[in-house]
Amino acid sequence: MKTIQAEKTGLRLRLYIAGNAPNSLLAISNLKAICDEHFATGCVLETIDLLVHPGRALADSIIVTPTLVKFYPLPVQKVIGTLSDTNQVCVALGVK
C-alpha cells in the first residue's frame, strides 16, 4: 500500500490493482503522471492490491482491475482501465 502525501486541497483517491498485471502497473504509472501534473499540491492516494486483499474488492464492489475511485470531493467516481486516456481521467477527477 503506497500513499502519496499531499497538502490539504483534498483530493482523495484509491487505486485497486492486481499485483503485477500489466494493466495494473500501467495504471499506477499513468496515475502518478496525472497527479504530478495536475494535483501536485494535494492528493491522497491509497493503492490496494487485490491479490493480497481480495476481501476489499467485495466490500467496495470492484469488478475489474485496475479501478480508480475518487472519494473526495463528492460525488464518488469510478474510473476503470489503465488510465491511459488522460482526458477521461481528468474529467472524472474534476480537473478544470
Binding site: N23, P54, S84
Partner: protein, 591 residues
C-alpha cells in the same frame, strides 16, 4: 496454457433441467466450461441458475454466481418464481457477486479480470465451490471495445476455471447466434456450447434449445422445445427411443357401467383414453363420470380444463347427477383451469407437467386436449401433446382426454394427432333424424381389450347418464323418440301376439270341451237306449210267461187231457204270422 487436459475423461454433472440431462447423457461437463448463448429473454440466466441450484440442493456442492447484467437482488427475486429459495441457499452454499458496472463508471483504458478472478478464487476456496456462473459476461467485455482484449479475458477465465477445477457456465447475449461473429471464438474455445433461441411464429412465442457442441461426449443435436415453468426450465425431448412403460392388467371403471361392459371390463390402468366428438356431445360428462368413479375409489385425481372454470364444470356435471363437490372439499380431486390464449403450447405442457408433479395424481382428465392442439402451427411443437401423453404414460397415470371436433365438418383430424397414442378411443357423435338430435357412442378402438362394435345411444337426464341399445329398422338407426316409439310398438306387437295366442288357446280348449261334452251326451244316450232295450226285453219275457201260466191255468180248469200241439195245426189253417204263437190260435179257438 496447458497442453494436456487434467480431465482426460469427461464426467458429467446434472443440471436438473428436465430433458437436458437426457439429451446430453448426464448434464454438463464437470470441471469444464459451458457457454450458453442466446438472445434476450431466452432463459440463459435460468439455465445457469437452475444448474447452480441443483448442484447446491442435490449434490450439496457450493457455487458462485457472478451477475454482470442484473443485480443479485433481481436474480434472487426472479428465482423465487421458480420456487428456488435462494436466500436460504446463500447462507451456506451459494455466493452471489454483483458485478454490474454502474453507468457512471468512466472507462479510461484497457482493464482485465485478474483482480476479480483472484477475489473469486479466494471465495471459491472459502466455500469449497464446485460451480461458477458468469452471467452476461458480454456486458462487461463489450466495454473493452477491443476484440483481442475480449478474447484475452475469456481465455483468462477459461484457464482460471481449469486451474481451479470449477465447472463453469458462461452466458452470453447475442443478437442472432449465427450472425454474431464477434463472439464466435467463444464457441471454439469452450467445451460445450448450448444455444437458446426465442422466436415468434404466427404470434406464438417458442423457446428452443440446441446443444451445438460437446467435447468428448455424444449428444442429441436437434433443436428441442423448452418451457419455463414454476419448476424451472424444462426441455421436451422424445424420451428414450424404446418404450419402457410398466403395463398392468388392472382395469378401472369408466364410471358408466354399460360402457365398462362394452369395453369388456373398463379402461386399463395407466392407459390413455380419448373421447372425441362435436361440441355438446357429452364428452365432459363422460370425463366427469370417470373422475367421480376415480374419486369414489379414493384415487387422487386432477381435472384440467381449458377455457372453462372448474366451478362451472362441477356445476354442470351436477345437473346430470355427477357430484364432485365432496371430492373437491376432501382434496382428492383437484381442478386446474387455464386459458389457452396464454403461453405457447410447450409452455402450456410445461405448466401441466409441473402441475402433474405437484398433485401427483393417479387419474387425470384433460378437457379438451384439442384446445392445445388447435394452437399448433409450428413443426417443432406439432407433437408436443404426444410427448406430454407419453410422459403421463411413463408416470403410470390413467388419462382421459377429450378432443373437440369441428362440429360441422366432422373432421376427425384434430384427434388423429392424439389418437395414435391413445389406447382407447371413444367417439360420440350426433345423429340428427326425425327432427331430433341424439348422441351416439361408439368405441373406435381399444388396445388390448375386446370391445363392442355396437352403436349405443347416450342419454343424459337428472338421474344420470345411461347407454341404451339402438334399433335398426328398415336400414335406419332409431334413436330418441323414434327408438322410444319403436320400443313401444314392439311392446304392443308382443302384447297383441300374446293375446292372440291366449285367445286361440281358449278357443281350442272350448272346442275340446265341447267335443268332450258331446261325447258325454252320446254315451248317456247309449246308456239310455241300453236301458230301454233291456227294459223292453224284460217286459216281453214276463208277458209271455204270464200268458203261458194263464193258459196252463185255463187248461187245468178245462181239464184238458193233453196239450195241443198247435204249430202244425195253425200252419195248416193258414194262420197269418202268428206261427209259434199258439196263444193266438188257442185263444181264438178257445174263445
Amino acid at each position: 496454457m496447458k497442453i494436456n487436459s487434467p480431465y482426460p475423461v469427461v464426467t458429467k454433472v446434472p443440471t436438473g433441467i428436465l430433458g437436458f440431462d437426457q439429451i446430453t447423457d448426464g448434464g454438463l461437463p464437470r470441471g469444464r466450461t459451458t457457454l450458453v448463448m442466446g438472445g434476450p429473454g431466452c432463459g440463459k440466466t435460468v439455465f445457469a441458475l437452475q444448474s447452480l441450484v441443483t448442484g447446491a440442493n442435490e449434490l450439496k456442492e457450493a457455487g458462485i454466481f457472478v451477475a454482470f447484467e442484473e443485480s443479485t437482488r433481481q436474480i434472487v427475486a426472479n428465482a423465487a418464481t421458480f420456487g428456488w429459495d435462494l436466500p436460504s441457499l446463500v447462507k451456506k452454499k451459494l455466493f452471489f457477486l454483483d458485478a454490474q458496472l454502474s453507468p457512471e463508471v468512466v472507462k479510461a483504458g484497457e482493464f482485465d479480470l485478474v483482480g476479480m478472478l483472484n477475489v473469486l478464487q479466494a471465495k471459491a476456496t472459502e466455500l469449497d465451490a464446485k460451480w461458477i456462473v458468469f452471467d452476461g459476461i458480454d456486458v462487461l467485455l463489450s466495454l473493452l471495445d477491443d476484440a483481442v482484449a475480449e478474447r484475452r479475458e475469456i481465455y483468462r477465465i477459461r484457464d482460471w476455471l481449469f486451474q481451479n477445477g470449477l465447472t463453469g457456465i458462461i452466458t452470453q447475449k447475442v443478437g442472432g447466434v449465427e450472425q454474431d461473429q464477434r463472439y464466435n471464438f467463444l464457441q471454439f474455445m469452450v467445451d460445450c456450447v448450448v444455444i437458446l433461441r426465442h422466436q415468434v411464429v404466427d404470434g406464438t412465442a417458442f423457446r428452443n434449445l440446441r446443444v451445438m457442441k460437446y467435447r468428448g461426449s455424444g449428444f442429441a443435436s436437434d433443436e428441442f422445445p423448452i418451457s419455463l415453468t414454476t419448476d424451472g426450465m424444462q426441455l421436451t425431448n422424445r424420451g428414450p427411443t424404446e418404450f419402457e412403460y410398466e403395463v398392468t392388467n388392472e382395469r378401472i371403471s369408466s364410471g358408466l357401467p354399460r360402457l365398462d361392459i362394452m369395453l369388456h371390463g373398463g379402461y386399463y390402468r395407466g392407459s390413455n383414453v380419448l373421447i372425441s366428438g362435436a361440441p355438446g356431445t357429452a364428452k365432459s360428462t363422460l370425463a366427469g363420470l370417470f373422475v367421480a368413479a376415480a374419486c369414489g375409489r379414493g384415487e387422487r385425481t386432477l381435472y384440467v380444463s381449458f377455457d372453462e372454470g372448474g366451478a362451472q364444470i362441477a356445476r354442470n356435471l351436477q345437473s346430470v347427477g355427477i357430484k364432485l363437490a365432496p371430492y373437491l372439499e376432501s382434496g382428492v380431486l383437484k381442478m386446474y383451469s387455464t386459458r389457452t390464449r396464454g403461453p405457447n403450447i410447450e409452455e402450456q405442457f410445461g405448466l401441466l407437467r409441473a402441475k402433474v408433479r405437484e398433485t401427483n395424481p393417479r387419474c387425470l382428465v384433460i378437457d379438451p386436449m384439442s384446445a392445445l392442439s388447435t394452437k399448433v402451427s409450428h413443426v417443432a411443437s406439432a407433437d408436443a401433446s404426444q410427448h406430454f401423453l407419453d410422459f403421463l404414460k411413463g408416470e403410470g397415470i390413467t388419462v382421459v382426454n377429450t378432443s373437440l371436433e369441428g362440429g360441422f365438418t366432422a373432421d376427425e383430424a384434430t384427434a388423429t394427432g392424439i389418437s395414435t397414442i391413445a389406447d382407447t378411443w371413444i367417439h360420440v357423435s350426433y345423429i340428427v333424424q326425425d327432427g331430433e338430435r341424439n348422441r351416439a357412442l361408439t368405441i373406435v378402438k381399444s388396445r388390448g381389450t375386446g370391445h363392442s362394435n355396437q352403436v349405443r345411444e347416450l342419454t343424459l337426464s337428472d338421474e344420470g347418464v345411461s347407454l341404451t341399445d339402438v334399433f335398426v329398422a328398415q336400414g335406419k338407426v332409431l334413436m330418441g323418440v323414434a327408438r322410444w316409439e319403436w320400443e313401444q310398438e314392439e311392446q304392443a306387437t308382443t302384447r297383441r301376439t300374446q293375446v292372440a295366442t291366449d285367445l286361440k288357446r281358449l278357443q281350442l280348449h272350448l272346442s275340446q270341451a265341447e267335443a268332450a261334452a258331446r261325447l258325454q251326451v252320446v254315451q248317456t244316450e247309449i246308456e239310455a237306449r241300453n236301458a230301454e232295450i233291456s227294459l223292453l226285453a224284460d217286459a216281453t219275457g214276463s208277458a209271455s210267461k204270464l200268458l203261458r201260466a194263464d193258459r196252463a191255468m185255463m187248461r187245468k180248469m178245462r181239464h184238458a187231457d193233453e196239450e195241443v200241439r198247435a204249430p202244425k195245426a195253425t200252419s195248416t189253417n193258414g194262420g197269418p204270422k202268428t206261427n209259434g204263437d199258439p196263444t193266438t190260435n188257442g185263444g181264438e179257438g178257445a174263445v
